[in-house]
C-alpha cells in the first residue's frame, strides 16, 4: 500500500522547548489513522507543521514530511500552497471561530473552489450547493446566502467539513473536530466525516484524546506523549494488546460500554512524570550531540 503522508523523525522546538521529539508516522491512502495523546502531547503541532502554521518562534530541527512522495518541508512556498486546501485539507477544532464572520458562507466556499479548481463563479456556487447537500444541509441555496453567525455550531462544522472535502483531497487532518460540539451533534459529525471520507476517497489523520472515537472509526493509531510516539499500530492490535504502559493506562482511563464507570482509573501521575523525565533525558542527549 502507498502512503499519502509519511513523517520521519520530526523534531520541532518552540524557542528552547522541544515539542516534537522525533515523531514518525505513516498514513496510508484511504485509511483513518488516530493520533491520540493527552493535552500538550504535540498532536496539533504535527498538523501545524504540515500546514506551515507553526508559531513564530518555532523551528523544525530535523526530520522530513513527505506527502504523496514529495518533501513538503523542502518545497517552495508557492508549490506547497497549491497542495494546501486541495490535496491536504483541515477540519478545524472550533467551528464557532473558524469561519470569517463578515463573509457569507457562499463567498467563502466559492473563493476556495475558484482558487483550486479554477471554476467560474456560477459553477463554483453550484458546486458549493452540491457540497452542502452532501453534508446533509437542507436548502443549500439559502445557507450559501447566510453569514456564519446565522448558523448553529453543528451547521458550521458541516460547512467546514464540506469545505475540507471540496477539492477531493488525498489527506484530511481533523484536529479534534468534535470537542467543541455537544454530545448528540458529535456523533452525527463523526458519521458525516466517515461518509465524506468514503465518498471522496480520502485518508484522514484524526487527532483526538478520545480512545472511544479511535476504536470506532480509526483503522490504525499512533499514541503520542511529550512529542514522542509511544505506540503505533492497527487499532485492533493496540487496543487489545497494548505494548506501552502509557497506552494501557490510557485504556484503563477510558469509559467503555462493557465496564462500569467506577472502574475507571486515571493515568497514574508517577507514570506521566517518568515519561517526562525520559523526554528531558532525550533532550540532553540530542543537545550534547553535534548536529
Amino acid at each position: 500500500m502507498s502512503a499519502v503522508l509519511e513523517i520521519d523523525n520530526l523534531h520541532v522546538a518552540i524557542g528552547a522547548a522541544n515539542v516534537l521529539r522525533g515523531v514518525s508516522l505513516r498514513v496510508e491512502a484511504g485509511e483513518v489513522r488516530g493520533l491520540v495523546g493527552e493535552s500538550g502531547a504535540g498532536k496539533s503541532m504535527v498538523g501545524r507543521t504540515i500546514f506551515g502554521l507553526l508559531p513564530a518562534k518555532a523551528a523544525i530541527r530535523a526530520g522530513q514530511v513527505q506527502f504523496e512522495g514529495r518533501d513538503l518541508l523542502a518545497m517552495p512556498d508557492k508549490e506547497r500552497r497549491g497542495l494546501l486546501g486541495r490535496r491536504i485539507a483541515l477540519i478545524p477544532q472550533d467551528p464557532m471561530t473558524s469561519l470569517n464572520p463578515v463573509r457569507r458562507i457562499g463567498a467563502q466556499m466559492v473563493a476556495l473552489l475558484q482558487l483550486h479548481l479554477g471554476l467560474s463563479k456560477r459553477a463554483a456556487l453550484d458546486r458549493a450547493a452540491d457540497l452542502l447537500a452532501e453534508v446533509a444541509i437542507r436548502d443549500p441555496a439559502r445557507v450559501l446566502q447566510l453569514y456564519p453567525h446565522e448558523l448553529s455550531g453543528g451547521m458550521r462544522q458541516r460547512v467546514l467539513i464540506a469545505m475540507a472535502f471540496a477539492c477531493d483531497p488525498a489527506l484530511v487532518i481533523a484536529d479534534e473536530p468534535t470537542t467543541a460540539l455537544d454530545v448528540t451533534v458529535q456523533r452525527q459529525v463523526l458519521q458525516l466525516v466517515e461518509r465524506m471520507r468514503q465518498r471522496h476517497d480520502a485518508a484522514i489523520l484524526f487527532v483526538t484524546h478520545d480512545l472511544g472515537v479511535v476504536a470506532k472509526i480509526c483503522r490504525s493509531m499512533t499514541v503520542l506523549h511529550a512529542g514522542r510516539v509511544l505506540e503505533d499500530g492497527p487499532t485492533a492490535d493496540v487496543l487489545v494488546k497494548p505494548h506501552h504502559a502509557y497506552t494501557r493506562a490510557l485504556l484503563a482511563a477510558t469509559p467503555r460500554a462493557d465496564r462500569p464507570a467506577d472502574a475507571l482509573k486515571p493515568v497514574p501521575p508517577a507514570l506521566i512524570e517518568s515519561l517526562w523525565a525520559e523526554a528531558r533525558r532525550l533532550d540532553q542527549l540530542t543537545a550534547t550531540r553535534p548536529a
Binding site: R103, A111, H149
Partner: protein, 335 residues
Amino acid sequence: MRWSAILKRLALIPPTLLGVGAIVFVLLRVVPGDPIAMMIPPGASPADIARLRALYGLDQPLLAQFVTWLGQVASGDFGRSISLRQQVFELVGARLPATLELAALAVALALMMGVAVAVVGSLLRGSRLEWLLDTANGFFLAIPDFLWALILLLGFGVLLPLLPISGRLDPQLAVAFRTHFYLIESLLTLRFDVAADLLRHMLLPSLALALPFAALVARLLKAQLAEAEDQDYAQIARTRGFSRTTILQREVFPNALIPTVALSGVQVTLLLGGTVLVERIFSYEGIGNMAIDAVINRDFPLIQGLILTFAVLFIALNLAVDLLVAVLDPRLRHG
C-alpha cells in the same frame, strides 16, 4: 443596527441640542464681555448704549432672553449677527459648505494615508522597517493639527512657495456659484480649472487636519490587522492555500476595519474642532474661522448659531459612524 435603535438615537437629538443651547446661552452671558461694548463708538451716551441693549433684547432677564431665543430657534429664526448685521442662518449657510468640503477632503486624505501605512506596516511585521514606520507614525500622532498648519504654512507657503496659503479661491477666477459647495459644484459643472484652484487652496489646511488623524487611523488599523490575522479564520485560510496578501485583503482587512471605523469615527469630531484654528491660520472662509471672529466680537447670536451647528454636525457624525459600522458588520445588521 435595527430601526428601533436608530429611532432611539434620533429621539435623543432634540434634548441634546436643547442642553447644548442652554449651556452656551448661559456661559456667554456669565463671562465678562458684551457685544454692545464692542460696537459702540467712543463717546456714546449711556442712553444710546441702553437703547442698543434693548434693541438686541439684552436688557431682559436671562431666562426671558433664553425663552425668546428658544422660541425663535424653534421657528427657524437664529437671530441676527450683531457684528455682521445679517441673519445668522444665512451667514452659517454660506460658510458651512466650505468647512464641510475641507473636512471631507481631510478625512479622505487621512483614510488613504492611514490605510496605506497600516497595510505596509503589517506586511513589514517583525522587520526593522516596521519599527521605523511605527516611530514615524507616533511622531505624526504627537503633533496637533494647528502645529501642522504652521509647519505646512512655513514649508510650502513661505520657504518653498508652491501652494496658496490663504483663502478658498483665487479672486481672478471669479465664477458665479449657485451653491456654496464650490468644489462639488465646479466638479459637477465640469469647471476643472476652478476645481483645481479650490483644491490647491484646500491642500495645506486639509493636510494639516489629516496628518494626525491619518496617524491615528494607521495605528488603530494596524493593531486591528494584527489581531484579526491571529484569529482562527485567518489562520485556517492559510491551510487552504491562500496567499498572505489575499488573506490580508479578504479575511483580515474587512474584520479589522469594523473596530477601526468605530474607534476612529468619533475622532472625526476632533478633526472638525480642529477646523477652528486651521481655517484661521489659512484664512479659509469656513465656520471655524467665523467662530473666532464671533467670539472676538462677543457676537452672541452668531456664537450660539455656530455652536449649535457644530453640535448638529457631531451628532450626525456619530450616527453616521454607527450606521457605517452596522453596514460593515453583518452580526450587528441582523441584531
